[in-house]
């Protein structure tokens, strides 16, 4: 779905705390952190559970289902986005709880409604980078 030969947006890069997430995306899996002590899911990939303060943590595969928490349409021009402004951006509330920054594809912006069910789709935008976008559930 992305025009890779013209992909100009900033490519995210894994670091020590987030490589499980980005590696998962390349496998077309949505990975989140989960606390082994209290079971709470979290998305900021931090070593300590904010609920129980345990550092006993695992990465686990999320369902990829969620709902549209909110969305905006950016009209300001930023480097890498010049040719496609205005563009849509979104925050999706995952079934497991955490919210993730993304966008919604495969439907007209006018169809978007907060709380509509969505599902993750995986977009290989570069050889080493897959972005997790969302589309209408069941589509």
């Amino acid at each position: 779905m992305s025009d890779t030969n013209a992909y100009t947006r900033p490519l995210p890069q894994a670091d020590d705390e987030s490589h499980e997430f980005y590696d998962g995306a390349r496998r077309h899996e949505l990975m989140l952190m989960r606390c082994r002590a209290c079971g709470a899911w979290r998305l900021p990939s931090r070593p300590r559970c904010p609920d129980c303060w345990s550092t006993d943590t695992e990465w686990a595969r999320a369902s990829g289902r969620g709902t549209l928490y909110s969305f905006g349409r950016m009209h300001q021009k930023f480097p890498g986005f010049e040719g496609e402004t205005p563009y849509l951006y979104a925050v999706v509330e995952l079934e497991e709880g955490p919210r993730i920054v993304s966008n919604v594809v495969g439907m007209a912006d006018e169809e978007l409604r907060c709380d509509m069910p969505l599902q993750a789709v995986f977009d290989d935008v570069a050889d080493d980078t897959t972005l997790i976008r969302f589309t209408k559930a069941g589509a």
Binding site: Q13, A14, F21, G72, M74, P86, E93, G97, I100, C114
Partner: protein, 396 residues
């Protein structure tokens, strides 16, 4: 312990506002120093009387250690209290709170609280400094998802919060526009407001999109300048030069954001927590408020703040603001200097400075006749941090 014993025991005795707005060629220290100098003169104090300094830097450098270096820039050699503080736009009220407690309990007598910033450069748009912060071509970590999807700057994030409120409660753009129109009506009476020409709802609708659902006229200005206030023990206030603005109530609310289901700080802010403490201290209810100075980085911030203080029911902020209630002649005069939307963007010092002016009765053409109880709100982050100050010209 509800803090009632603190009511009216500290006062804002000095206010200094530097040259403000599109003023170039100076750094933030210059603006901070100007504001402090004017505040000290305003109070009728001498430099030697200042024994406390609290500094809130903006996004521009402000001396060493986050602004602590301002002490030596100003040659303040008698300080018993010194700190740099930053809770975003909630900081101004919070500085006043710590200053008030310090003077009440004898740690210091006259504490200067100052904010200054110089993000504007000649020939560059107001938003450039804010939206551009931290951008790289190959950002790393999970935070890199924001630039990857083009989520730059606070405009993008407040657009999400505004959209969420619209979806939950049916809030409309025109209702937000009514806030922009009302603040501009007030700004016409404020000689230092950057924008004083009137606007209509049609102007609001026609103003360009920044990040939908936010128009340009939903967004605050960006300003160069500085504002300082002096907090003194109440007993000392009547002998100083200006009518005291007594601190009746103080509170903070930081509910946290776990960024997951159940945390809706975008539409349910920390204001109720801050209000509960501040109003209990002041011994007031929401119907006692005569004038509101609500933090207004965006029109929506005003709307959600009024809801969260209980001026109207949750979710009814849209209809509440739509009928001109906030403007001149309205039943709830709000942001009477034009606020950050029309006058100047000095973070929490914008509502605080106008709160002091109204409590003193020095608003001239924009002075609200009944100004016994003035509410000042601060907001930091993306509705993450809230602070409350209640001011009054009366000691009790």
């Amino acid at each position: 312990m509800d803090g009632r014993e603190l009511k009216g025991r500290a006062a804002i005795t000095g206010l200094g506002i530097s040259e403000m707005g599109r003023v170039y060629g100076h750094d933030a220290q210059h603006f901070a120093a100007e504001a402090v100098q004017r505040a000290v003169a305003d109070a009728g104090l001498r430099k030697e009387d200042i024994d406390g300094l609290l500094v809130n830097p903006g996004i521009s450098p402000l001396g060493g250690m986050g602004g602590v270096g301002l002490q030596n820039y100003l040659g303040l050699t008698n300080l018993r209290l010194l700190s740099s503080m930053n809770v975003g736009g909630a900081t101004a009220n919070i500085m006043v709170q710590y200053a008030a407690m310090s003077v009440i309990h004898g740690l210091a007598n006259h504490v200067v609280c100052v904010f200054a910033d110089a993000p504007l450069r000649e020939g560059h748009g107001g938003g450039a400094a804010y939206a551009g912060a931290g951008r790289t071509t190959r950002p790393a970590g999970l935070g890199a998802l924001y630039p990857a999807f083009g989520v730059f700057g606070v405009n993008a994030l407040y657009a999400l919060a505004t959209r969420r409120h619209m979806a939950m409660y049916g809030t409309t753009g025109d209702q937000l526009g009514a806030i922009a129109v009302a603040e501009r009506q007030w700004a016409a009476f404020n000689p230092i407001a950057e924008h004083r020409e009137p606007i209509t709802l049609d102007d609001y609708r026609a103003s360009r999109w920044v990040a939908e659902p936010l128009h340009l006229l939903d967004c605050c200005l960006v300003s160069n300048g500085g504002v300082a206030v002096i907090v003194s023990r109440a007993e000392e206030a009547p002998s100083l030069r200006q009518p005291p603005a007594y601190v009746w109530g103080m509170g903070q609310g930081h509910p946290g954001d776990m960024r997951r289901k159940g945390w809706d700080v975008e539409t349910q802010t920390g204001a109720p927590m801050a209000k509960e403490k501040a109003f209990a201290m002041a011994g007031i209810g929401v119907t006692d408020i005569d004038v509101v100075q609500a933090y207004d980085c965006y029109t929506y911030t005003v709307l959600v703040t009024l809801e969260d203080y209980g001026f109207c029911a949750k979710g009814e902020g849209g209809p509440f603001v739509a009928d001109g209630r906030l403007g001149p002649g309205g039943s709830l005069p709000t942001n009477t200097g034009g606020g950050q939307l029309s006058a100047y963007y000095m973070w929490g010092m914008t509502p605080l400075s106008e709160g002091v002016i109204q409590a003193r009765g020095q608003g001239a053409g924009r002075q609200v006749a009944k100004h016994d109880v003035v509410l000042v709100t601060g907001n930091g982050g993306v509705l993450d941090h809230h602070s409350t100050i209640v001011l009054s010209p009366h000691p009790a």
